[in-house]
């Protein structure tokens, strides 16, 4: 077990966790119609940070996020030799320099804050964020570091837009996770961060417990979700058993829910096999879009905000059952004390990962 807190969210909905939370509580989405963004010059829906500078966005977001983190903890932790920074991203600064997607920005972050240890970057497609938090938690638990700061970030580029368009995976409306009429993802950009520590005293606001979980591969297809949800099923089983947590203790599932037909169907099958169909569940992609390597961080940070505010926000974009197995999708905001939350992620390469957050 390690402590988790100091959550930061930078998205089209705001620059702090509080601003983002206020938008979510009002069910406001960061998705908008962006003219000329598509491959053939057509407009498309994106969760784009329209005010963001167009150059060096990735590096600047990393620095902005770590600056915000330093305001939420004992700031000496940032430069401690017992602290590791872990970056989670799929395409890094590809839009600035395709040949220097990660090393340059990581080194710049390191210089800017005079970090004692070289940051590690986790690049594992859409599970990067959850995997990075789990890695951070376990490095702290094992005593290899005392503190770990995890920053997840990805920015929208023509590269990624064209790629998902070539897969016919982009929704022509704002994405509608788990809904019957869903037809693809809406890409998003942003940055999220959390801090893991052996000590709860470094946090200015009360932290939570991270019960780090396991990852599991589907061993099925590099870009198509498993038809049986095998990897997600195995990941969640391992996460629950290694932390001795019973399904009945989970108050909320912050699912992956990309809003592609096959992904959401796969998740419904996995949660059915896990006997979790009755647990309140949502996808946050309707608010933030799919932020790829940042998604695990932004969504875990949002889950912590839900726990702090004792409120479940509705799964935006959902109105009618659209999976073969039932799910208890949250359709209205609801005040409720949340003691334990399960966060899951699945992605290209067949990866699946999960973690648990528990209140102290």
């Amino acid at each position: 077990m390690s402590y988790i807190g100091a959550e930061v969210i930078i998205s089209p909905l705001g620059d702090t966790a509080e601003e983002n939370w206020n938008a979510l509580a009002q069910n406001r989405s960061g998705i908008s119609f962006v003219e000329g963004a598509g491959y053939t010059g057509e407009g498309m829906y994106l969760a784009k940070m329209l005010a963001l500078n167009t150059t060096r966005r990735f590096k600047n977001l990393l620095i902005q996020a770590l600056t915000k983190v330093s305001e939420l903890i004992d700031s000496q932790i940032i430069t401690s030799t017992r602290t590791i920074v872990i970056i989670s991203s799929t395409k890094g600064a590809l839009d600035t320099d395709i040949k220097d997607q990660f090393a340059g920005p990581a080194a710049a972050l390191s210089r800017h804050f005079k970090l004692a240890n070289q940051p590690i970057t986790v690049s594992n497609a859409c599970i990067s964020g959850v995997l990075a938090i789990n890695t951070a938690g376990k490095l702290v638990e094992a005593g290899i570091y005392e503190h770990a700061i995890v920053i997840g970030c990805d920015v929208i580029s023509d590269f990624v837009v064209n790629g998902f368009q070539s897969l016919f995976a982009v929704s022509d409306k704002p994405c509608a996770p788990f809904d019957n009429a869903r037809n693809g993802i809406t890409l998003g950009e942003g940055c999220g961060a959390v801090v893991l520590s052996t000590s709860k005293d470094i946090f200015k606001e009360t932290p939570f417990q991270l019960l780090a979980g396991a990852s599991a591969n589907d061993a099925n297809h590099i870009s198509g979700p498993s038809r049986t949800g095998e990897g997600l099923f195995r990941s969640v089983i391992k996460t629950l058993t290694s932390n001795k947590i019973d399904t009945a203790e989970i108050d909320f599932i912050c699912a992956h829910g990309t809003a592609t037909i096959y992904n959401d169907e796969m998740e419904s099958i996995a949660f059915d096999r896990l006997s979790m169909s009755n647990i309140p569940l949502s996808s946050l992609k309707g608010y933030f879009g799919h932020t790829l390597g940042a998604a695990g961080l932004i969504e875990t940070a949002t889950s912590i905000q839900m726990m702090r505010n004792s409120e479940l926000v509705k799964s935006l974009g959902y109105s009618e059952k659209g999976t073969s197995k039932p799910l208890n999708i949250i359709t209205v905001n609801e005040k409720r004390r949340l003691s334990a939350v399960l966060k899951t992620a699945s992605g290209f390469g067949g990866g699946n990962a999960s973690l648990l957050i528990r209140s102290i």
């Binding site: 491959y39 799929t90 395409k91 890094g92 590809l94 395709i98 040949k99 997607q101 990660f102 090393a103 990581a106 080194a107 070289q118 590690i120 970057t121 986790v122 690049s123 594992n124 497609a125 995997l131 890695t135 376990k138 490095l139 638990e141 094992a142 290899i144 590269f159 064209n162 790629g163 998902f164 368009q165 070539s166 897969l167 396991a214 990852s215 599991a216 591969n217 589907d218 061993a219 099925n220 297809h221 590099i222 870009s223 095998e230 990897g231 195995r234 391992k238 290694s242 290209f348 390469g349 067949g350 990866g351």
Partner: protein
């Protein structure tokens, strides 16, 4: 205690398994270097041709280690072998090819796009072997033994009994690949520590 029980080193000129060169590049061949190895070693996996270079390198390294050490595939349940891979340039080599696919008026290639993530190689090896274990792909400035040692430490505590580790650096013709298998088997192994890993990585097999 962990031991390296098999390893494969692959660069622009040679491919070596457990320190012995098994293949040397024929510069006059019409086939790509990885395809030369694939044919010489008589692999039969047609999907190999569809893979990008990162996945081809991972496929070759993993299969060659398995051939030299039959225990790799046989003695572990399907979810107890973790894969811990890293490199410094992510999938940049394939990223540039995808970028070129839509320059001018052509359409972006979906089969290239799906390889524009470094961890796809983990998926390919998992699919081939039906391995459901833990996966990690990290981006580091250089080959760093400490990363693998720390990460092995935490996957073992999570129930993994063995791990296929890899450094797969491929960019614009440059090839620097090192795969090694780690398990708790003293008899056939080299003790896993930073010094030994660095020396296996830096060792240049003698070219006869």
């Amino acid at each position: 205690m962990n031991f390296v029980t098999g390893y494969c080193r692959l660069n622009e000129d040679f491919c070596a398994v457990n320190g012995e060169v098994i293949s040397r590049r024929d510069v006059d061949s019409e086939d790509s270097w990885f395809k030369q190895i694939y044919k010489e070693q008589e692999f039969v996996y047609p999907k190999f041709y569809k893979m990008d270079l990162l996945s081809q390198a991972g496929f070759l390294g993993a299969e060659l280690i398995k051939r030299a050490n039959l225990r790799v595939a046989g003695s572990y349940p399907d979810d107890e072998i973790a894969m811990i891979f890293a490199n410094s340039s992510s999938s940049t080599d394939t990223d540039m090819r995808f970028l070129r696919s839509y320059e001018g008026n052509s359409s972006p290639s979906p089969s290239l796009f799906v390889y524009t993530l470094p961890n796809i190689v983990l998926g390919e090896i998992a699919i081939l072997n039906k391995w459901y274990g833990e996966n990690m792909f990290a981006i580091l400035p250089n080959f760093e033994p400490g990363f693998y040692i720390n990460y092995l430490n935490i996957t073992k505590s999570g129930g993994s009994k063995a791990a296929l580790c890899g450094w797969l650096e491929i960019l614009e013709g440059k090839v620097d690949v090192f795969l090694f298998f780690v398990e708790e088997n003293e008899e056939t192994g080299t003790p896993l520590n930073a010094e030994n890993l660095a020396s296996l990585f830096n060792h240049k097999p003698s070219i006869n």
